[in-house]
């Protein structure tokens, strides 16, 4: 599964993308798995209310299931326009 990071999430984690082998059932499980792996992930994910998540390029919530998913992305609230 590709895990992507944008804006300050990318900066805190230090790279834009991970390839992850995971048995995480939900986005939240994946977040916990990544946070346990390294401190910089724990820091980036410390306040989920400041984050948004997209699964296969659709905005969703942290309890979304990951079965069959190819791409998960984490980023702060958008500021386009």
């Amino acid at each position: 599964m590709d895990v992507l990071y944008f804006a300050w999430v990318r900066e805190r984690i230090g790279h834009p993308k991970d390839k992850v082998e995971t048995t995480a059932k939900t986005v939240r499980d994946l977040v916990n798995e990544l946070s346990a792996k390294e401190e910089r992930y724990a820091v980036a994910f410390s306040d989920l209310s400041a984050l948004r998540v997209a699964v296969d390029q659709e905005l969703t919530h942290f309890d979304a299931p990951l079965a069959g998913v190819r791409e998960v992305a984490f980023f702060p609230p958008m500021t386009g326009g």
Partner: protein, 147 residues
């Protein structure tokens, strides 16, 4: 419907004429243009806009389709830049056409409200050696509830 996500600049006047001139039977055209403005706090040197290639086009396409379904429109144009921009550069524009003005206005406001908070763009302001990500505003999220 025309949606473009690009690094290159665009000519607002040319895009506006091109859009307006290809409409048939439309009585109203509305455009919105977002411009990099200098900060009240000092001199903005650069605005960097990051986006999520792939998802950006999908999200904008969905927002535009929703607007086409919801109002009686002729057409929609969305252009959004990414990369490094300078103060006074145009960041993005939307254009809508409709038989009547209320639809054109409402759809343009709807597009802007959703583009702001639902299309994956992030702005970073660079002043000298300092850079700061622009924080999302609560009022932008709240403005979605009116639709």
């Amino acid at each position: 419907m025309e949606i473009r996500v690009q690094q290159a600049g665009f000519d607002l006047g040319e895009e506006t004429n091109r859009f307006a001139n290809r409409q048939e039977g439309m009585g109203a055209v509305v455009t919105f243009t977002g411009i990099v403005r200098d900060l009240s706090t000092g001199n903005l040197d650069v605005m960097e806009i990051e986006h999520y290639p792939g998802m950006t086009e999908k999200a904008l396409g969905k927002i535009a389709s929703d607007a086409m379904e919801r109002w009686n429109l002729g057409d929609i144009l969305i252009i959004h830049r990414h990369g490094r921009l300078q103060p006074t550069d145009h960041i993005m524009m939307v254009a809508t056409s409709a038989p009547h003005r209320v639809d054109a206005f409402q759809a343009a406001e709807f597009l802007m409200d959703f583009l702001k908070s639902r299309a994956p763009f992030w702005k970073k302001e660079v002043i000298g050696q300092k850079a700061a990500w622009v924080a999302a505003k609560d009022e932008d999220e709240e403005s979605l509830s009116r639709w």
